[in-house]
Symmetry: C2
Subunit: 253 residues, 2 copies
């Protein structure tokens, strides 16, 4: 082996084992996932008004409405039929299918928004969504469009952390905001879907990141996904909870 090769080998950080990679991802989730965001803390403590919950449901609808579009972009980027068949389920989860009316995640989110007191059409219009929420969500579409397929898939690894947050949220909503309980169908479905999606994405990353450099790209995609989830709540929190102001044209409860 030449000296140059030896030197390069020394400089190349080692591939993380499956357990090490999982630990790194969990660590990022612990530090950066939006379960830590003050908006969720306040929500879970029962301190939000009905209007603030409306603002959350209406703004987050924009995120929900973009999920199947995001997944269709990912679908369009893979030439592996097995991958596409597996990933397609995510689109079905959110868009529903004709044989199973009411199954669509998007419809279930709309029912949550209706339970909060909003009219369906006002939610679907997305005209009153905060620009900051819109930009953060659109950055997700840009990430899965412009990054590598590995990064696009890895950005969905936040599902590793979703189950725990959703279980807590359902419990606290039933306790503090019982009038919203009829709208919890979306979360009921996600409780089983999220771990399945997380496991698939994790196995994909294990199989498609054969170098440490690629593992780092996947890790960084997860960081970016956490950032955009966090930024959505920042926009909502500052416009509606912490004395702030919605910008001209945005939803006012």
């Amino acid at each position: 082996m030449s000296e140059l090769l030896q030197q390069r080998e020394l400089e190349t950080p080692e591939l993380l084992s499956r357990d090490e990679l999982r630990a790194r991802l969990m660590e990022i989730g612990e530090e950066r996932y939006h379960h830590r965001h003050p908006f969720h803390l306040v929500m879970h403590d029962g301190l939000l008004t009905a209007g603030q919950l409306q603002a959350w449901a209406l703004n987050r609808y924009y995120y929900q409405s973009r999920i199947p579009i995001k997944d269709a972009i990912i679908l369009s980027r893979s030439d592996d039929m097995d991958f596409r068949r597996a990933w397609r389920q995510r689109i079905i989860d959110h868009d529903g299918d004709n044989g199973n009316p009411g199954s669509a995640g998007i419809d279930r989110w709309i029912r949550l928004a209706e339970a909060s007191g909003l009219e369906r059409q006002r939610v679907i219009d997305c005209r009153e969504v905060l620009p900051g929420v819109r930009y953060a969500v659109d950055s997700y579409l840009a990430l899965v469009s412009n990054g590598s397929l590995l990064e696009a898939v890895a950005s969905s690894l936040t599902e590793m952390f979703a189950g725990k947050l959703i279980a807590l949220r359902m419990d606290r909503i039933r306790k503090h905001y019982p009038w919203l309980s009829d709208g919890l169908g979306y979360f009921e479905n996600r409780i089983s879907q999220a771990p399945r999606d997380a496991e698939f994405a994790f196995e994909y990353v294990i199989a498609h990141a054969p170098t440490r450099a690629e593992q780092e790209l996947a890790i960084s995609a997860l960081v970016r996904k956490c950032e955009l989830l966090w930024a959505q709540l920042d926009a909502i929190h500052f416009a509606y909870v912490q004395p702030g102001w919605p910008p001209p044209g945005a939803f006012r409860p």
Copy 2:
């Protein structure tokens, strides 16, 4: 004339005259331009700390750094050599030219950041830029990439309102933050460049929006530009001024 055509004519809103269009644009500026943003009000009242001004200079650098990229996208979308020759000047203003060292708007902005106490490399890296600022700026690139050329040009009409804000800001910085005065070269240049750019864009819209529907597209592009300027300051204000929190990984003064 058929009844249908008559009816359509009745329903079509009339083309705005030059003066009416200008008045509509000015009205949008009055209501939505970021001269009204609380961050600027607090800045002009002399109430910002050095660290808060650093956060502003560092975050807004990301916007500055994207301006010539935005203008290159617009350049790339026109097949009119006269238009391209005129628009090219904006790129020169921000990127400078070899015969005129120190002329680049971006360099001048870096000097402002340095005057605030930041190291050049830390600013250029953009690693500590708030995600919310990044998304808002990137949405500007998406607007000029995905909208029509008319909308792309119209989005620069905010320059109609820039001169007044810049004059006020320079005055207040000299008064309240005299240690920043050495860094005002960027604004000195913009005072003459902004009205020239605004006039060009306005004449372009007059010439290239021959229907009311197109005029409305131009007006709406200006609204969207105001929104993304506003959202940048929201992110900065809430992370650094109004008791808030920079997200994990963002700049801390």
